[in-house]
Amino acid sequence: MERRSGTTISRRRFLQSVAAIGVASACAPSGAPAGAGPAASPGGSAAAAKPVSIEWWRRNYTPGSQNAETLTSDGAVKAFRERNPNVTLSIQGGPFGPETDQKFDIAILQQKAGPDVFHTTGGDVLKYAAAGQLSEAPLTDAERRDFNPSALQATTYKGKVVAYPLWIVPWFEYINLDLFKERGVTPPKDGNWTYEEFLDAAKKLTFKRADGKQVYGFAHANDEFAFMLVDGGRPYDKDVKSWTFNSADAVSGLEKWVALAREKVMPPDFLTLNPNDAQARFISGDVAILQRPSAMINVLNADKKFEYTKNWEIANFPKGKGEQTAWGGVGFIAVRDQQDADKKAAAHQFAKYLTGPEIGPDLKKMAPPVEYWLAPAARVSAAGIYGEYHPAKAKVAKMSSFTYVLPNVRTFSEIDQKHLRPARDAALEGKKTPKQALDEVATAAQRLLDEANK
């Protein structure tokens, strides 16, 4: 082989050079230098003029599929691009579950890289904020007032709003009108009932058919603590410093839940019933009242033979001693902090668009229209359009106003899985009294809460 004259390079030297370049590239700051200034405002011209490309990480996004998250995400990108042609967006998907959580953690916490903007939920927001990886949302006072206060509180870390509340997912009671009619039970007027009325209905709706088929008055999937809230019990005090889920109100709430087990109005597998099975039993008429989140509306709407107000209806949580309460979750859009000011500004711009009042109408205008809000929006100015898609959704949208959103505590999943859930099970099985069960959790829960607050 002919060797060129001049400087020659051995294979080893070549590989060393490549490695050195690789290391240097990996360690070098990307884009603008550190301290390049705060994020531009969402409508900021800095990001608007300059071409910039950002990456959006979205759980349950599968390119080419017809699932709701994919359709809405593709629609959102298209609509945003029409308003901001200088911003190029790419979406990276991943299923809901620990493997995607890991991917987020490794990228954001370890490598300090990954998405420019991303969907997130629960304690992850505070985990990333505590690691200094989230960029503060530049909200005006008017915008702050526009958001649901408990959703905004759930995304506030050390006084700073570190992510944009996207939607609130309220949980409530779906009722099977056919079974109510068959048993001569009057559905709750305007969807409101007291706990006693609810329990009475559940008892009457628990019966065995002539063919031996058992129908149960009530069921829930094994994934919430709704009843512990109805008398005013809350997991934490207002400042999220003290564990209070063993208060007298929480105990009496759990007693109400235990009464449902004692009266046998729930199927025998209620402690291990998963959401899909619970939904299937409601649809097949084995369960008369089912506690599930707003997303089930679309599941029921998919069945043309099961019509809203004819076969099924929605009701509030039964009311106890406390204010009318719904239990619910909240979703967020977060922007990763980074040194590239243009990317960060564009990411904020997009995050604000995703959580704002313009996206719903934008997507509704598309052909075919895309229903963006999969749950009631977390801000007043964006709330209306969710209800426009279905009368059941209009009803649900009102419930989001009294939905209790669990404050974000990064150790909550440990409190829940290792301590609270087993204690709740012990009470529901009658092995411990509600007070005994909740008191036993308190010490460990407080320790984990203190750890989260450090």
Binding site: P268, E429, K431
Partner: protein
């Protein structure tokens, strides 16, 4: 260059790919787990804290419950699987060659199914409702219905039963192969002495199968210590009141849901040491110089 390396250098070269994989994907992770167990490791790093994680485990009632459940599951399931495999292999042995092959394949076939799918089937079998298969079957003889996976008293029993009632195909095949190689003259001598089938089985077959038994006991013990998907699918990862929680289930949630990698590694170390200790005991008690 040492003489050994000169003589066998090329051999090492052939071993190198496998050895590299072993080092990267087995040895280093184990060493890393030991190192992490001494740290307060999270996804962003951690500090050396000595044996604090092990002290935390000693005080943790959930870990103690997971440990107890794992040991109970292992003792019952391993004993049952060894006996079942031995009995089934012995029963198919007298059959003709074609029948033997058929039954070996039949018992081995379930192993190629996804463990998750098998666990889902068992979840349905032990459904606490009267329509669950186990309750329906028992109902025909006037028993039940039982709560099975819906009760903290019965959930672990259901999980253990799901393992015990699955004939261990691998064990059947191994025992079957081992029985085929046993010397026939010993059985002929026993026949001359007037020994019955049970005496021959108990006095000749079982003792001569000790090496296979040792291998299976060790392997099944390690597999039972690692039980995860069955618990995860059948009882939503721990069952009512943590009744079915096992060590690997707890390692999974501690690491990947609670983000405590150091503590999870300490659990993994405990599990590793348990497996080593049990294997040593098993080797010592079952080791024998069986020659034939």
């Amino acid at each position: 260059m040492p003489a050994t390396l000169r003589r066998h250098g090329s051999s090492y070269l052939f071993v190198l790919p496998t050895f590299s994989f072993f080092v990267v994907f087995t040895l280093l992770p184990v060493v890393q787990a030991f190192a992490l167990s001494l740290q307060s490791a999270t996804i962003v790093g951690g500090e050396w804290i000595g044996l604090e994680n092990f002290a935390t485990l000693a005080d943790d009632p959930v870990f103690r419950q997971a440990l107890g459940n794992t040991v109970l599951y292992t003792v019952v399931v391993v004993a049952a699987q060894i006996v079942l495999a031995l009995v089934v292999a012995s029963l198919i042995q007298p059959l003709g060659r074609k029948n033997q092959t058929f039954y070996r394949a039949l018992f081995y076939l379930p192993l190629v199914n996804s463990a998750i799918l098998v666990a889902m089937v068992w979840r349905w079998i032990f459904n606490p409702n009267p329509f669950g298969l186990a309750n329906t079957a028992l109902g025909t003889v006037g028993l039940g219905p039982f709560l099975w996976i819906g009760s903290s008293d019965e959930a672990l029993i259901a999980v253990i039963l799901s393992s015990v009632l699955t004939i261990p195909g691998g064990g059947v095949v191994l025992y079957s192969a081992a029985i085929s190689s046993l010397p026939r003259e010993l059985y002929e001598a026993a026949d001359v002495e007037g020994a019955g089938w049970f005496t021959k089985w108990w006095r000749i077959t079982v003792p001569l199968l000790k090496p296979t038994t040792l291998y299976l006991v060790v392997i099944y013990t390690i597999l039972a210590f690692q039980v995860f998907e069955r618990v995860y699918v059948m009882t939503n990862g721990g069952g009512p009141n943590n009744a079915t929680i096992t060590i690997v289930q707890l390692i999974y949630s501690t690491a990947f849901q609670f983000g405590r990698y150091g503590l999870a590694s300490a659990m993994a170390v405990v599990l590793f040491l348990m497996a080593v200790a049990v294997a040593v005991v098993q080797f010592r008690s079952l080791r024998s110089d069986v020659e034939y």
